[in-house]
Assembly symmetry: D2
Homo-oligomer: 121 residues x 4
């Protein structure tokens, strides 16, 4: 089951080299995860239970840079590795062209930054 | 003629105070302007003619902060003040609630940073 | 009494137009204000009293763009307009060249987002 | 030979969870690399030869989050793996406490995005 999410590249996303600043892909991957889990649910978890998702590990390899005006697609496959840990395979594409290949591992922590079981999503 | 554009508030948009970091509203306003002018057109202008839009002046007043999970709406009205200058009245709303009231003045510059007439949009 | 604070322009600060992305100057102004008030003091206010500084109004006019590798200087003069409101005149310079001329008005709010008197700084 | 570089954590760096937004550590690592290579040199390479450093691969593991007001230290060790590729071991510390452990691989590309030999640094 692959989740897809489109993002338009704005001026803010680029740098003087002419392409998207590398760190921004972590933001795009996170936006996609928020849509998978649900923005309202994330807000409720944080406000009512003090529980938040935390990135534990991540890696990216960069094939090609997205440019101003591009519409890129974030494609995500989620693996629940255990009750406490989820791995998100996340890739950024422009059309059929792979731009960035990433992997992000998440855990959930409570208000004391202690690991708690992942909620359903 | 009012242009409207919706934006979801992600973790990246917020700060430790719990609401959206103030400078980000300038980004949201700019995203809306890019949709008004057209991302592909902006990219073409920059690549083929070296022409870009430049913010010349801006102001914002802040009424209330958007929060994680909110969907806010950017409402924009454009005034072409002359062949060289456009003023964008831009406001961020959550439902009927005005969050931020802004005004942004733009000019166009060529590759030598000289002011040139605004293209049609 | 003018406060000065130097900032180096990195790749992350620029956009595809070749100069600093306009919204970033609000970040630079805020960094300078945090140095004026004190980072440790800000953190203590927020953690122990739930009190934070909030931008209420801001304006900027842009004269010239800073570029990758530039060291710019933020020059700030603070006016306490009342017990509740402070106005910061903030300008970004590269050498003697004025790049951005800004004004930022701040208030303080408590955990319920109610305005409270400004602390000493 | 370890290079060290201090960074103060501002409001802009944090998110609603109360700690630094994860993607920002890639920015901090990049700032440190720009100081190692030299901001003026980077700007000259880009402007005069169209040559820029590009992140090819990166990974981070997160141990603990930095907070508003913290001064963190980026510690970097560089390995030139070949004439074309450099690996930066980069870690963020608060005092003796390791916060983030990262690795970033760089190559250099010219104006046509072709890989070229790394300059001396």
């Amino acid at each position: 089951m692959e989740h897809t999410f489109d993002i338009q590249i704005y001026y803010e996303d680029t740098d003087v080299s002419g392409v998207v600043y590398h760190a921004n892909y972590l933001k795009y991957f996170e936006r996609a995860r928020e849509h998978i889990i649900g923005g309202a649910k994330l807000a409720e978890l944080l406000k009512e239970q003090g529980v938040g998702f935390v990135v534990y590990k991540c890696s990216m390899s960069f094939k090609e840079g997205a440019e101003l005006g591009d519409i890129i697609q974030i494609r995500t496959i989620v693996h629940r590795e255990s009750d406490y840990r989820a791995v998100f395979d996340q890739r950024a594409y422009r059309g059929d062209k792979l731009l960035v290949d990433g992997e992000v591992e998440l855990v959930c922590v409570d208000g004391d930054r202690k690991v708690v079981p992942l909620p359903d999503f």
